[in-house]
C-alpha cells in the first residue's frame, strides 16, 4: 500500500476551486489525477464535479476534461476511448469517466451497463455522496435509508442500491469500493486500474458536509467512521476474485464487533429524525451485508 508521503508531488488539481468547504471530491480528485500522472482525459456530467472544475474561461484542474450530458458519462468515455484508438493515441492517455451516484446509478446506469457489457476501455469512478447534491440534496437511488433529503423530508424509506455488485454482475475485469477518507486506498486502486484494460469500475464513498449536514472539518473522520461501522466496505474484485482491502481487511481479520451504526448516524443532521427502530433496521441491514463480505473474503471468491 502506498503511503501518503510516497504520493507523486505533481499537482493537477489547482489551488482554489468552487467545491464546498470540506468536499470529499476534492481530496479524491487530487490523488486520482496523481495516480494517472495527469495522462488522462475525463468525461464529466452535470454534477458537483462540474462546479469544482470551474466556469469558462477558467479551469481549476490541469488535465483534459470534457463536460458531457448528464446520462452520457459512460458512453462519452467509450466514445473518447474509441476516438483515441482510431487515431492511434489510445496509449497516450487513460480515459476516466467520473460521475456522482445519481449520474451513475440512476440516469447514467443504462449507458454504463452498455459500456460494461462491451467491456469498453476506460476507468469509471463513481463518487458517491449519496444524493443529488449539486441540485440541492434530492434523494437518489443510492441515498441511505433514514436520510432526510429535499425530496424525502421524513427520511428515505429504502436502502440504497448496491452499485458495485451491479457492476460485478457485468463480469468486468476490475471492480473496487473505496472511500475519499482513505486517499491512499483511492490512489492504489486507480493506479492498479490504470494497468488493466477493459472497463474498470471504482465506487468511492464521498462525504458531503452540506448535504449530510456535518461540520466540514469532519469529512475524513466521518468517512473513516462509515468504514468502522461496516456501512462502507473497502474491497476489490479482480477478475472475479474478491478481496477486502485496507481498514476493512483489518476489521475482518480482527473479527471483533464493528462500531454500532448509531454512532455514525448521530454525527449527521440528515439522520436527525430517525427513530430507534429505524436505526436498528439499518444496523441489521449493515450486519447482514458485512457478514456477506466477510464470508466472501474467507471463501476467496
Amino acid at each position: 500500500m502506498t503511503r501518503i508521503t510516497e504520493l507523486p508531488t505533481t499537482e493537477y488539481v489547482l489551488p482554489g476551486n468552487r467545491a464546498c468547504a470540506g468536499c470529499g471530491i476534492g481530496i479524491a480528485l487530487r490523488v486520482v489525477t496523481k495516480a494517472l500522472d495527469g495522462k488522462m482525459v475525463m468525461t464529466v456530467p452535470a454534477s458537483c464535479l462540474t462546479v469544482l472544475g470551474g466556469m469558462y474561461p477558467t479551469s481549476s484542474v490541469n488535465v483534459p476534461w470534457i463536460n458531457v450530458a448528464f446520462p452520457s458519462t459512460a458512453a462519452a468515455a467509450a466514445g473518447a476511448a474509441a476516438g483515441l484508438r482510431a487515431m492511434g493515441k489510445a496509449d497516450d492517455m487513460t480515459v476516466l469517466a467520473m460521475a456522482g451516484d445519481g449520474g451513475t446509478g440512476d440516469i447514467g446506469i443504462q449507458a454504463l451497463s452498455g459500456a460494461a457489457e462491451r467491456n469498453d476501455d476506460f476507468i469509471y469512478l463513481c463518487y458517491d455522496n449519496e444524493a443529488y447534491m449539486n441540485t440541492g440534496t434530492q434523494r437518489s437511488g443510492l441515498t441511505p435509508a433514514g436520510a432526510r433529503t429535499t425530496t424525502t423530508w421524513a427520511g428515505k424509506r429504502e436502502n440504497p442500491k448496491d452499485l458495485p455488485r451491479i457492476m460485478e454482475a457485468h463480469n468486468i475485469p476490475y471492480v473496487a469500493s473505496t472511500s475519499a477518507a482513505y486517499p491512499t486506498d483511492v490512489f492504489d486502486k486507480v493506479a492498479k486500474a490504470r494497468e488493466i484494460h477493459g472497463l474498470r469500475y471504482i465506487h468511492m464513498n464521498t462525504p458531503c458536509p452540506s448535504g449530510w449536514s456535518f461540520d466540514p472539518k469532519d469529512t475524513v473522520r466521518l468517512g473513516k467512521l462509515a468504514v468502522e461501522c461496516g456501512i462502507v466496505v473497502l474491497y476489490e474484485v479482480e477478475d472475479g476474485v474478491f478481496r477486502l482491502t485496507g481498514r476493512s481487511a483489518a476489521l475482518a481479520k480482527a473479527g471483533k464487533a464493528l462500531t454500532p451504526v448509531a454512532e455514525y448516524i448521530a454525527t449527521q443532521g440528515r439522520f436527525k429524525a430517525m427513530t430507534a427502530d429505524a436505526v436498528a433496521e439499518v444496523q441489521a441491514w449493515v450486519d447482514k451485508r458485512w457478514a456477506g463480505y466477510v464470508a466472501r473474503e474467507r471463501a476467496g471468491e
Binding site: 482525459v41 472544475g53 469558462y56 458531457v68 467509450a78 466514445g79 474509441a82 483515441l84 487515431m87 493515441k89
Partner: protein, 406 residues
C-alpha cells in the same frame, strides 16, 4: 467510378466508407438499420478500418460520436424517428459543442401511435437545434450529399443531418454511380485538428459552465459569454448559405456531379406556379409538372435541398414574379401549418413580386401520395387563388373522410 444498383441506406453506408469515417456508433431502428448493418459488416471484414461501437441506445450513439469527434476522429451515425427524438439532448449538445458530426436520417413518422413509414416529422422537429439539414431526392444524391456533408461540417464546425425518405429511398434500389476512393480522397482530405485539442500537455476544460456575460480568462483576455457563443454558432449557419453551394460545386468539379447547392428547380423559369418541397416528393412533383404542363398550366418545381440554414434569399429570388407557390410538407407544426410553408411565408413577407403561398400536408405516416394527387392539389390551389383566396389552412392531401371516426 462504378455503377451499382443499391438502396438509399446502402448509398449512405457507401458514402461513410468513402469518407473514411474513423468511429461509427449506432443503434437499430427501422428504416435506418441497414445503414449500420452494412457498415458493421465492412468493419468486421476489415474493408473499413474504423471503430464500431455497438451502443445500447441512440442517446449513447450520438454521445459516442460527440466525444470521438471531440478527440479528433471523423464520425458517423444514422437514425430515424423515435431514435432521433431519444437523441434530442445530444442533438443540441453536438451542435453547441461545434462538432463536425454527420448523421443520416432515414425519415420516419413519430410515434404515438407506432408507425414505421415515411414522413419528415422527425428531422423537421429538430429544425432549431443548430444543425445543418440537407434533404435528398434520390439515392445518388444521398451518396453525394453525405460525402459533401463532411466537407461542409468540417469547414464550419457544425454538424450536418443528411435526410432521406424512409422506405421510399432507404429501401428502394436505384442505379448509383459510386466514385472511386481516389476521387473522394482528393475531394475530402482527412479531418484537420478540432477547435479544442484534447492533449495532456495542453489541457483544456471543454464545454464547462459558461455564464451569460463575457468573462476574462487567467491572462485577462475577455472570452465569450453563452450568448456570444450562440451568436457565433448562428453566424456559422448563415455562412453555410455560401459554403453548401461552394462544396457542391467543388464536388461537381471533382466527381462530375452536383446538386444545386441550397435549392434546385425544374421548369421553373417560365412558370407562374411553383411547387415547393424537400426530399423524394420533389421527384414526384416533376411528374405532376409534366401532367399540368400538358394541360397548359405553367408550373415548375422548386426543390429545397438545405432546410437549415433556410435559403430565404435564394427562395425569394427564384420565386420573384410567380403568382403562386404551393408547398408540400410531410410534417406539421401542430396548430399552425407545415414547417416549410410557414418558413417560406416568413421569407417572402414584404418581398417585392412575391407569390401567394398555400400549404399542403401529405404523406403523413406513409400515406400514399401519387403524382396525380400532387397535380390535383396544385389544381385546387390554383382554383383557390383564382377564387380570390390569399391565405388558407393546409390542404390535407388524400385525407380519407371515412377514416374520421376514432
Amino acid at each position: 467510378m462504378t455503377t451499382k444498383v443499391i438502396t438509399g441506406n446502402e448509398a449512405a453506408a457507401t458514402a461513410a466508407k468513402l469518407a473514411r469515417v474513423q468511429v461509427i456508433a449506432a443503434y437499430p431502428i427501422t428504416p435506418q438499420s441497414p445503414v449500420v448493418e452494412t457498415l458493421s459488416a465492412w468493419v468486421e471484414s476489415g474493408e473499413l478500418p474504423a471503430e464500431f461501437v455497438t451502443v445500447e441506445s441512440e442517446h449513447s450513439a450520438l454521445t459516442v460520436c460527440i466525444t470521438a469527434s471531440t478527440v479528433g476522429a471523423r464520425v458517423f451515425t444514422a437514425t430515424s424517428a423515435n431514435g432521433l427524438a431519444y437523441m434530442n439532448e445530444q442533438v443540441w449538445w453536438a451542435a453547441g459543442a461545434r462538432l463536425p458530426i454527420v448523421m443520416c436520417i432515414a425519415n420516419r413518422a413519430m410515434a404515438a401511435p407506432w408507425n414505421v413509414l415515411n414522413d419528415q416529422q422527425d428531422s423537421m422537429s429538430e429544425r432549431d437545434a443548430g444543425w445543418i439539414q440537407l434533404y435528398c431526392r434520390d439515392n445518388q444524391e444521398i451518396l453525394d450529399t453525405t460525402i459533401q456533408a463532411y466537407r461542409i461540417a468540417e469547414r464550419l464546425n457544425v454538424p450536418v443531418m443528411v435526410c432521406y425518405d424512409g422506405f421510399l429511398l432507404s429501401h428502394t434500389v436505384m442505379p448509383v454511380d459510386v466514385p472511386s476512393a481516389e476521387e473522394i480522397d482528393a475531394f475530402l482530405p482527412p479531418r484537420t485538428a478540432p477547435l479544442q485539442l484534447v492533449d495532456a500537455n495542453d489541457p483544456r476544460n471543454i464545454g464547462p459552465v459558461t455564464l451569460a456575460d463575457p468573462r476574462a480568462d487567467a491572462d485577462g483576455v475577455v472570452r465569450p459569454g453563452y450568448m456570444e457563443f450562440r451568436a457565433l454558432h448562428h453566424g456559422a449557419l448563415l455562412e453555410a448559405l455560401d459554403v453548401i453551394p461552394e462544396v457542391d460545386a467543388e464536388y461537381g468539379a471533382a466527381v462530375g456531379r452536383s446538386w444545386g447547392g441550397l435549392t434546385w428547380e425544374y421548369q421553373l423559369a417560365d412558370a407562374d406556379v411553383a411547387l415547393v418541397a424537400a426530399g423524394s416528393l420533389t421527384t414526384q412533383l416533376t411528374l405532376a409538372v409534366e401532367a399540368l404542363r400538358a394541360e397548359g398550366v405553367k408550373v415548375g418545381v422548386l426543390g429545397i435541398r438545405a432546410y437549415r440554414p433556410f435559403p430565404a434569399a435564394e427562395l425569394r429570388a427564384r420565386l420573384a414574379g410567380k403568382q403562386l407557390a404551393v408547398v408540400f410538407d410531410k410534417a406539421l407544426s401542430y396548430g399552425y401549418e407545415g414547417p416549410i410553408a410557414g418558413d417560406l411565408k416568413a421569407a417572402l413577407f414584404t418581398a417585392e413580386n412575391s407569390p401567394v403561398v398555400f400549404g399542403c400536408v401529405c404523406g403523413i405516416g406513409g400515406r400514399d401520395v401519387s403524382p396525380e394527387n400532387l397535380a390535383d392539389a396544385a389544381r385546387r390551389a390554383i382554383a383557390d387563388l383564382d377564387s380570390g383566396l390569399r391565405d388558407r389552412t393546409p390542404d390535407w392531401i388524400n385525407l380519407r373522410p371515412e377514416g374520421g371516426a376514432r
